[in-house]
Amino acid sequence: MNWKWLIRRLGFMLMVLAVAVILNFLIPRLMPGSAKQAYAGKLPEAVQVKIIARFGLDKSIWEQFVLYIQNTLKGDLGMSFSNHPNSVTYMIGNALPWTLFLLLTATIITVPLGYVFGVIAGWRAGSKTDTGIQIGSLSLLATPLFWIAMVLLYVFSAQLGWFPLRGAETAYSGYTGLKWVGDVLWHAVLPVLALMTLFGAYEMIMRNTMVTTLRENYIITAEAKGASENRVKYKHAARNALLPLITSVGIRFATIVGGSVFVENIFSYPGIGSLIFDAVISYDFPLLQGAFLIFSIVTVVVVFLLDLVYLRLDPRIRY
């Protein structure tokens, strides 16, 4: 464990979070109109008064900041306009687990797939296999996520009826235990498949770094040592080519967070993506703000976890 590096990354992560929190504080106050409008504008008047008091919207900016930090730490992100009387925290608390489940499942399945196909394609760059895989990846990359989601839904749910048309679980089913798990997985198959279009990006990254890695001298050394093709491919080349992939997973995670807005909306999946979509069309600013804050936190945490993986994989990280 390289503690120094880790602490630096942790510090960096906290800084990013601080920036996200501060932006979240500033944006409603910099918007045209007033912060009162952004926080409480569409709430009933009686509630507006309470929100104004709770966030100190009639006080100085510093007092507001202190209150904002206190409230944020307490998990109080305000009241949702469109879902009043539900609080933003309540809405997000309901939605977040589903989104995390979806995004992480998609990532956990896609990254190894991209890895394996990238290795296969990169190993024999220019071959027919490579060309085939590249065409597949590029098509996936070039196809809009929402379109793929819609096709999947139409074909597998509406036409074939293999999967449900909506939701994260059978509504009001009362399922428990394994049955519930099965139900949730059954509902997640199509959204996860749609999010797996990111496979294309991972595969391309893996393939390209694989091609570069294969030019490295240590590959020649490994081959000269008499290592078998698979050993050279996986133990030497792919192991090194994996590093940029890990980095890109972090970067791409932000992309699939965006993609989840489409996918969740199309599959009526009760996650943050649907929440954001609804918040946008109903101008529910507090909810939107809360959702973005949560997404920044999730992204930062995921990137940090990936950093930990990177730390384990790359012994060169010293500083």
Binding site: A227, S228, H236, D314, P315
Partner: protein, 319 residues
């Protein structure tokens, strides 16, 4: 009985413009305990020659000739069979400074890998042997647990040597081994290699563009130009009485720290394009003693003195 016989070896790279004849009819032999230095400008085919011996040509192929290791024809066996020969009988020391060691594994484990690939040895036995090998190259065995980036260039080069010795090979090919090392380190590593070669009675093929380094390390010298051997003979002869005009020019271009000659001569022009090499003597366009016949008449490698070969049409006039 020479341990290695190379007969009329031809290696071509395939480009869209046509085959690049990187090695074009090279023959030589290597005796047990003998060290041969192969010298020439970049692009003369010396590295391709080494890679051909290891059957590691990428983007090209050995298109003709024979390589015999003792009685076995290396080019006729399947690649899987040849993998067993690699490293166990012929190993390769390449430029450690240019990434010949895999950055994500400890150097010790890379040596262990080489041992275990060929010898049926337990991990702990292999580590013991690794420690022994490291001692042999005057590296503290503790360093086996280090990653390449934690070691200096000289140390990495020593470890490459140790790795090359892993399976007690008969032949070691050293490709530009000391290039990019500092002069003192280069001297130290070179000394070590010479010492080991003598002590372990190794057969060595040393490839370098630095003639003076080869002069120190090798019994025999091969001078290559544009894919062909132009002169071959005992080191003392090559340095003391070079016969081929190219060899003479090459030696003349070296900087001698103790000479008063301010700037050495250079060789005008540049090596030919191996896609379409000149018909006759390949050096003819740059040669100052060449005759008209050289343009069309290809010189043969002939023995001008016992053990001293040369390929020049004008040799009789010059001597």
């Amino acid at each position: 009985m020479p341990i290695l016989t190379v007969d009329d070896l031809r290696t071509h790279y395939f480009t869209e413009a046509g085959p690049v004849k990187a090695v074009d009819g090279v023959s030589f032999t290597l005796d047990k305990g003998e060290s041969i230095g192969i010298a020439g400008e970049s692009g003369c085919g010396k590295t391709t020659l080494a890679m051909s011996l290891m059957r590691l040509i990428k983007g090209g192929a050995v298109v003709g000739g024979k390589i015999h290791l003792g009685d076995i024809s290396l080019l006729d066996m399947s690649i899987n069979e040849f993998r067993k020969i690699r490293w166990e009988r012929i190993s390769l020391v390449s430029q450690a400074a240019m990434g010949a060691l895999n950055p994500v594994y400890t150097v010790g484990s890379q040596i262990v890998e080489a041992i275990q690939l060929h010898w049926d040895m337990s991990k702990s036995e292999a580590w013991e042997r690794t420690a022994h090998l490291l001692t042999l190259v005057k590296v503290d065995p503790v360093r086996g647990r280090s990653y390449p980036h934690e070691l200096s260039g000289g140390m990495k080069q020593r470890i490459m040597i140790a790795m090359a010795l892993a399976c007690d090979p008969e032949i070691i090919i050293a490709d530009e081994m000391t290039t990019a090392l500092d002069v003192v380190t280069q001297a130290q590593v070179l000394k070590l290699l010479i010492d080991l070669q003598k002590r372990l009675d190794l057969s060595l093929i040393y490839i370098s563009h630095e003639l003076s380094v080869l002069g120190q390390a090798c019994d025999k010298m091969i001078i290559m130009y544009a894919g062909k051997i132009v002169e071959m003979g005992p080191t003392a002869k090559i340095f003391g009485a070079p016969k081929h005009p190219y060899t003479q020019k090459l030696l003349g271009s070296l900087m001698d720290i103790h000479s008063d000659c301010v700037i050495p001569d250079s060789i005008p022009g540049k090596p030919p394009d191996l896609l379409n090499p000149p018909k006759g003597c390949r050096f003819w366009p740059r040669c100052t003693v060449g005759q008209v016949t050289c343009e069309t008449q290809e010189p043969l490698l002939i023995e001008v003195e016992p053990g001293h070969y040369m390929a020049c049409n004008c040799s009789d006039d010059k001597i």
